[in-house]
Amino acid sequence: MSILSRVTVVSARGLVKTFGRGRAARRVLDGADLDVAAGEIVAVLGRSGSGKSTLLHLLGALDRPDGGTISVAGRRLERAGERALTDFRRRHVGFVFQFFHLVPELSGEENVLLPGRLLGGEAGAARRGRELVERLGLEEVAGALPHTLSGGEQQRFAIARALVNDPELVLADEPTGNLDAESGAVVLQLLREIAARDGRAVVLVTHDRDAAAIADRVLWMGGGRLDPERGSPPRALRVGAGAA
């Protein structure tokens, strides 16, 4: 982990994103900078509507910035073509959403295999998918349809799906926002592990300070920029409490 932590996975500079036009225009991001290293988990806190999700969308190539530069895993996203972005999303980034976004017609395991098998991704994806299902303790419910699963189970399947193509970057948008405290803790623990054990870069968006406590660094989104959260408590002091 020590050597990985020095590899920069995400490097964003001067991100600008505006919604609306004319008088209704709103500059949601206004010069946001962000660096995330491999094996590092960065939490982004901020008020609702401050632009946290927007930031994740830019980092995950779901949307394009109006200004600034983004480099993820050595790829420049702001000028890449649609094809390159599709390929990038498939190989280099994994998303975890607040509302899970599992495909309701597919079983939990099929959802996990979706990016790999369904989309003809990497060959190792199927094997990795099964390993992940096992590792996340989901073998028992692997064949069940999402609506029969608890929120926590659904979110664990979603995490497995985000990881199946072995991405360098995992983006989690309020992953515990729809879970009870206990399931939320399990999910946070998993994200922690993904960073620490697998050496991935994780950006965790949340408005919950307790959730942010698992992060290596906590940033505050405000006025369209990211600033270090002052007075954020060291992780080591809080992680045990958060998981309890």
């Binding site: 779901l62 495909v103 369904l118 989309l119």
Partner: protein, 772 residues
């Protein structure tokens, strides 16, 4: 109440429509498609179904037309005046084979009708009627159309110095129009000719003779009585033939009846499927708005209020869309349908169509409103919390799975598409049903077009097994048989006769010496084949018209006035002459009228070249004629029909496309969350296309066989029965049509997939994730 709340309501509804522009547009398109189908069906169906009556009305068509050998008008007049139940009479002289020309056009087959004072029996559709001047002519509309004649043009008429000026164009439905009829008709004034040329016959008659009369009765129901009386007083008038108004209609039907009836029958099918489509799409629209309904109920709208609001919004979309669609359907169908009517000398409905289209408009709006209000009413009847929760669950993409079928679907994006549509069984069923009906109708139209071609080209369709006929006066059957390529030859007698008891009913008596089924074998519907010259097989059409069955006696009056009787031993499904035919042996016919001349029916050897035999016959002076199918052998007429059928099929193809686009769009809109998730996981445009292709494939796989079965086992028999229950119409689609329609459906599915995928893949992923 002032209209302020109304205006506010309208503003609100319009605003909501603007917000949901995509969905509003989709619903509107569906209404446009259904309305277009309805508009086309109504335009064609109404125009054709009412064409004869309408034109007969406007043309003041007489109840009876009598033709006879030339006779002095005073003599005819004197006899006719004595008839009972008589309202009016007009005498005419019909002169055939008059050479006429205009500009570079010329024909020797002109039919001059020299009319006298009194009722005309035709309708002037352009210009004015004749005045008693010798240099004026009124031409039939078929001639005007074919030769581009206009009022004021000159028509050269053989025997009339300097020709005549066209002062008017007339339509009379007592015959089909030129060029479907061999000779173009034109009308001259008897008084005018007399004034200009004096007595043309110069034979001292005092005035020119007449050879036909038009007769109007006071009470058409007592027509038979008048006709019987007319027969009785007709001594001395030779070659007397009557044709009644209903007889005229039958004659016209021989030219176009089956097609007209088929089109009318099709209109009914179109009507049903349009209503089905409208209801299905309106329902789907409400389904998508369940959450809105929950919110409305939660903020205090009454159940009725919810239903009324939904109906109102639906009307707002339906009214302009249905107007547009009806206009499109009318535009597509009006031209070909008017041409068809023109060809059979019938007038278009003109403005009379407007109230009907207006009624369709009202009907469509009512159906859409009802189909919207009813599910809204039902949804609003549930507890708001339940409606909201239902909508929310679906919104989060975890509720829909409850309905999903665990299909052994193919893997990959395609398989996902299959599962996604299979999850919404009601929608899948509705879409597949619409597509199946539309497919079936298209199949039917194509089968119909093919049947028409066969009717015209292939005598076998009518049960005729001879390829050529020849004139028997200059050659003998033996000589013809000796020609190379000829398999067998038989004299064929065909006589136009009337029923002795009902003189208005015409039939054709066909006689072969020996076994007629070797030459003409319409399928036997009942009874047996004839065995002696005292027996007859009659067409089901005739049996229905005369109320005859097996075992009854058919009494016919031949043109000579002689009567012959036959025992009916069998009913046959003959298509020709609307089934008003009787097959027998020639002995009794010849006994009654020895002057009847046969023609020769010529069967060719298998593989023989018809053209070679034709040349051989021509060389022998036997005037060979190719046996046509139905009496409509005119190609331009068939081309008209084909155009009409194609127009109808085109509208239906559009309906197929729409049904698929609508279903896929609904799926894509509803599942935008899933699509966005897939794209967030790295699905590219190709994957989105595959998902939608899977969805389309399920619909097509369900609809195609169902559509085929519907055509084969329901539509074809029903339409054939409606069109001509006296004959067997092979209306089942053949391999070629199936292949064509299969290809069409695949193309349509591909187009629908591409259209919807393009839009779905363009939508920002982020928006799909937020709203899905």
């Amino acid at each position: 109440m002032s209209n302020r709340p109304g205006a506010a309501y309208l503003t609100g509804a319009l605003a909501r429509l603007r917000v949901r522009r995509g969905r509003g547009l989709l619903a509107a398109l569906g209404i446009v498609a259904a309305a277009a189908m309805l508009g086309a069906a109504v335009t064609v169906g109404y125009g054709l179904a009412t064409g004869f009556e309408r034109t007969a009305e406007r043309a003041d068509l007489p109840d009876v037309i009598a033709r006879f050998d030339e006779e002095r008008p005073a003599r005819v007049d004197e006899r006719v005046r004595a008839l009972p139940n008589l309202e009016a009479v007009s005498l005419r002289l019909e002169i055939r084979d008059v050479p006429i020309g205009a500009g570079s056009r010329y024909t020797g087959d002109g039919v001059a009708q020299v009319v006298r004072e009194g009722r005309r029996g035709y309708a002037i559709v352009e210009g004015r009627d004749l005045r008693p001047r010798g240099d004026e002519v009124v031409v039939e509309s078929g001639l005007a159309r074919e030769w581009s004649l206009e009022v004021g043009d000159r028509l050269e008429v053989g025997g009339l110095d300097g020709g005549a000026r066209v002062v008017g164009v007339a339509v009379s439905p007592d015959n089909v129009a030129y060029p479907l009829a061999a000779g173009p008709r034109f009308y001259l004034s008897n008084e005018g000719l007399l004034a200009r040329y004096g007595d043309p016959s110069g034979a001292g008659f005092g005035e020119p003779p007449v050879n036909s009369l038009l007769l109007w009765t006071r009470d058409p129901d007592r027509l038979e009585e008048t006709l019987t009386q007319a027969r009785a007083v007709s001594y001395g008038i030779t070659d007397l033939r009557f044709i009644t108004r209903s007889g005229v209609q039958v004659l016209i039907d021989q030219a176009a009846g089956i097609v007209v009836a088929l089109l009318v029958a099709f209109s009914l099918v179109a009507l049903t499927s349009a209503v089905l489509m409208l209801a299905a799409s309106a329902r789907a629209d409400v389904e998508r708005r369940l959450s809105t309904i929950g919110v409305m109920r939660a903020v205090g709208f009454s159940r009725r209020g919810v239903a009324v609001r939904h109906a109102g919004e639906a009307a707002l979309v339906a009214l302009p869309a249905a107007t547009l669609g009806l206009a499109i359907g009318w535009l597509i169908a009006a031209g070909p349908s008017a041409d068809l009517l023109g060809a059979i000398n019938q007038l278009g409905p003109g403005l009379a169509l407007l109230p009907l289209l207006g009624a369709c408009l009202a009907g469509i709006v009512a159906v859409v409103c009802a189909a919207t209000a009813w599910p809204a009413w039902r949804a609003a009847g549930r507890a708001p919390a339940e409606t909201l929760r239902g909508a929310e669950l679906r919104g989060r993409g975890s509720g829909a799975g409850r309905f999903s079928l665990r299909l052994p679907a193919p893997r990959g994006a395609f398989g996902l598409g299959v599962r996604i549509v299979a999850a919404r069984r009601v929608r899948l069923t509705a879409t597949a049903a619409v597509l199946a009906v539309a497919t079936a109708v298209v199949l039917l139209m194509l089968a119909l077009a093919a049947l028409l071609e066969r009717l015209a080209e292939d005598p076998g369709t009518l049960g005729k097994r001879y390829e050529l006929t020849a004139d028997a006066s200059s050659t003998s059957a033996r000589e013809v048989r000796a020609l190379p390529g000829v398999e067998s030859v038989s004299p064929r007698y065909a006589v136009e006769a009337t029923d002795s008891f009902r003189l208005g009913e015409n039939l054709q008596v066909i006689a072969f010496p020996g076994d007629h089924t070797r030459f003409e074998a319409p399928p036997l519907a009942e009874g047996r084949r004839l065995r002696s010259s005292a027996e007859a097989e009659i067409g089901v059409g005739l049996a229905q018209a005369l109320g005859l069955g097996v075992g009854a006696t058919l009494a016919t009056q031949l043109p000579s006035g002689e009567e012959t009787r036959f025992r009916v031993v069998g009913l046959v499904r003959a298509l020709e002459k609307d089934g008003r035919v009787a097959y027998t042996r020639p002995r009794r016919l010849l006994a009654a009228d020895p002057s009847i001349e046969p023609e020769l029916a010529v069967r060719l050897e298998a593989g023989a070249d018809r053209a070679v035999v034709e040349r051989g016959l021509a060389a022998a002076g036997a005037l060979p004629q190719v046996t046509g199918g139905a009496s409509t052998s005119n190609r331009s007429f068939l081309a008209l029909l084909a155009t009409l059928l194609r127009a109808v099929a085109l509208v239906n193809g559009l309906v197929c496309l729409y049904a698929l686009v609508q279903s896929l769009s609904l799926t894509a809109i509803e599942r935008r969350g899933t699509v966005a998730t897939l794209r967030a996981c790295g699905a590219g445009r190709a994957h989105v296309v595959l998902v939608l292709a899977g969805a389309a494939a399920v619909v097509v796989a369900l609809a195609a066989p169902f559509g085929w079965a519907l055509e084969r086992f329901a539509l074809a028999p029903a339409v054939a029965g409606l069109a001509a229950d006296y004959a067997e119409l092979p209306l089942g689609a053949g391999g070629g049509e199936l292949a064509l329609v299969g290809l069409g459906v695949v193309l349509v599915a591909g187009a629908a997939t591409a259209l919807v995928a393009r839009r779905a893949a363009r939508e920002p992923i982020v928006r799909g994730l937020r709203e899905g």
